[in-house]
């Protein structure tokens, strides 16, 4: 079972990296979604997969009465899922706002727009600008 999950984790990481290398920022965020799932599964697998009863101690005992499953990885994953959810929601909204402002989610186009913006910034009121020199 561990072997299968390890392969799944590897596959998810590969997919995540592929998506993150795309120019489209939305795909980058999808890549992050895959990656956070991959990491969660990784923690789950690293905590060892055991078939055992739920880690609940009965009222009558002070210690578990039988072999129990390891609850810690699940607690870690739960925390990580909540944090990841918050981040995904935030970055999607941020990307949408940026799309509204710039009209694109393509990193190359963003760079072009930025460069265009900077050249217009550098020519205020014709003071010592390169345009004047070249003219």
């Amino acid at each position: 079972m561990e072997t299968i999950l390890s392969v799944v984790v590897g596959g998810l990481f590969a997919g995540a990296v592929y998506l993150m290398l795309r120019r489209n920022l939305l795909k980058f965020i999808f890549g992050f979604v895959l990656m956070s799932n991959a990491v969660n599964l990784l923690i789950f697998t690293a905590g060892r997969l055991t078939r055992a009863s739920a880690p609940i101690i009965p009222d009558t005992a002070d210690a578990p009465t039988e072999i129990i499953a390891n609850p810690l990885p699940q607690a870690l994953i739960l925390t990580a899922i909540v944090i990841g959810f918050g981040f995904i929601a935030f970055s999607l909204v941020l990307l949408y706002r940026s799309y509204q402002a710039t009209g694109t989610v393509d990193t190359d186009k963003l760079r072009e727009l930025q460069a265009a913006l900077e050249t217009t910034h550098q020519q205020p009121k014709g003071q010592g600008s390169q345009a004047e020199v070249s003219a």
Partner: protein, 515 residues
């Protein structure tokens, strides 16, 4: 004992509680502003008490919820943590005061102050925790607060810079979490003191692999070569107060995490891991300073200099001798004060001259010599002029480098110091000496309002601090020395957390066994 536990936890509790209170106070802005500054000062006072207690009693460990050490979350305050918490308090207060004038009403209305305190809580938490997963959680707390602060206001530049900042930091966090998961799989524990013991039983090759994963994850956060590119793309976009606290504290949390894991956990193969760190340090210094030389914008130059200065701190860690670690700790403290101050000065300069672009400003020396003095102190300190704080920081590191016979890195460090001076004189020449391109009249018209002493107060305080560290170095050196001694003897840290140990009889861990 419980008093000590509270003392260790309070630098986190206070800003978190304040953040909650400030959210509730959202409709009454003037109360919110007072509470924000008051809480930051309380945090500073508590941090100083913590440092004083640590100096008297040694490393303090607080078991949260009274769960004994390897099972619950432990907060640990050794000298390094306490020093970092104090410096967080100082910067938190200084920038909180500066924000009162610098942050506009719109940003205040949409929650600037509460998120600022969430950020401070996250930073303090990251410095104080003794649990690897808890460190991840505090990283995320400070990250989400910084995401909000960097995007708040929604200027076009801010959104673009914000996206780069957010996405790269998300990747770094995922890597950090993945490596934490692997480490848990190897040892079955997340408590850093316990990890330090149990990693000795794990095959060294596996540990080194995980160490490199951590190096990449924290390297992105600390902005070291070649993972720094998000920093200069984003730090110049938000309001000055935000970029000042980011510049001072956030990358240093990454540096702190690197110092912590590469002195406490990953010391099995120092020859391999720390050599990589040394190469990284040299390249970080060089690329940072060369990047700065190519820039023409006040805050962008400063941003690239954050990177080059990070290189010095990593150099101290990489040399891994007592003197080098003293240098690293000293450098972190000096750098946070100086860099935050330079960003704050850039904000005042912009108010006078109207822009951050060096081409479009000038004449500041003639117009306001006082501001020029306030710029010169941190700028020369950054470049390492005696007798300012930066000189001593560089001196310690370079001596350590010479003693370790690492002449290449010493040469790079000296060269980068020289080039830093070039960048600082460039700002000086363009912003202060050169006449203003639109004529002196433009500057004459701008006189700052009376309330703007709130802008000057933190700048003056931080400049005085730079001078104090410069002229009265010994107590600061001694503190850094104690921090470094503790870092080089992890057994003290382990003992404080887990109780007295016989290091040789650590229980062996069998890999692959079901827990």
């Amino acid at each position: 004992m419980s008093y000590v536990s509270y003392l260790v936890a309070l630098p986190i509790i206070v800003p978190l509680a304040t953040a909650g209170l400030l959210f509730a106070l959202q409709p009454v802005r003037h109360v919110q502003r007072v509470v924000s500054v008051a809480s930051a000062s309380v945090q500073l006072a508590l941090a100083i008490m913590l440092l004083a207690t640590v100096s008297q009693q040694g490393i303090l460990a607080a078991q949260m919820g009274s769960w004994p050490a390897p099972f619950g979350i432990t907060l640990v305050a050794d000298h390094l943590s306490a020093i970092m918490v104090v410096i967080t308090g100082i910067m938190g207060t200084a920038v909180a005061v500066y924000s009162l004038t610098d942050i506009d009403e719109g940003r205040e209305r949409f929650g600037y102050h509460p998120f600022y305190h969430v950020l401070l809580a996250g930073i303090s938490g990251a410095f104080l925790t003794g649990d690897l997963f808890n460190l991840y959680v505090w990283f995320e707390v400070l990250l989400i607060a910084s995401f909000v602060l960097i995007a708040l206001g929604g200027d076009r530049d801010q959104l673009e810079g914000g996206i780069k900042y957010v996405l790269l930091n998300l990747v770094s966090s995922s890597l950090f979490l993945a490596s934490t998961g692997i480490l848990y799989g190897l040892t079955g524990t997340l408590n850093m003191a316990d990890l330090s013991l149990k990693l000795a039983e794990v095959p060294a090759g596996v540990v080194t692999t995980v160490a490199i994963l951590f190096m990449v994850a924290f390297g992105i956060k600390a902005a070291v070569f070649p993972l720094f590119f998000w920093l200069p793309a984003s730090y110049h976009t938000p309001p000055v107060a935000v970029s000042a606290i980011f510049a001072g504290m956030l990358t240093k949390v990454g540096v702190y995490a690197l110092i912590r894991v590469f002195t406490l956990l990953f010391t099995q193969d120092v020859g391999y891991t720390h050599t990589i760190l040394l190469v990284v340090a040299g390249l970080t210094m060089l690329t940072g300073v060369l990047g700065a030389a190519a820039q023409d914008e006040f805050r962008r130059i400063l941003s690239f200099h954050i990177i080059s200065q990070i290189g010095y701190m990593i150099m101290g860690l990489a040399l891994y001798t007592p003197l080098a670690l003293i240098g690293a700790v000293f450098y972190v403290v000096h750098h946070i004060i100086v860099k935050t101050n330079l960003f704050l000065v850039s904000g005042i300069a912009k108010r006078f001259a109207g822009s951050f672009e060096l081409k479009h400003i000038g004449g500041l020396y003639k117009h306001t010599p006082f501001l020029a003095v306030l710029f010169v102190v941190p700028a020369f300190s950054l470049a390492g002029f005696p007798p300012l704080s930066g000189f001593w920081a560089k001196l310690i590191l370079i001596r350590a480098g010479l003693e370790a016979e690492q002449y290449v890195i010493v040469f790079v460090a000296l060269l980068v110091g020289l080039l830093t001076m070039y960048s600082m004189t460039k700002i000086w020449r363009y912003a202060f000496w050169k006449p203003h391109p639109e004529g002196e009249e433009k500057l004459e018209k701008i006189t700052l309002k009376q309330a703007d002493w709130l802008l000057y107060a933190p700048v003056i305080a931080l400049a005085v601090m730079t001078l104090v560290i410069g002229f009265w170095t010994e107590p600061f050196y001694n503190l850094a020395e104690r921090a470094a001694t503790e870092l080089l003897e992890p057994s003290r840290y382990i003992e404080a957390v887990l109780g007295p140990q016989e290091a040789t009889t650590a229980t062996p861990v069998t890999i692959g066994e079901t827990p």
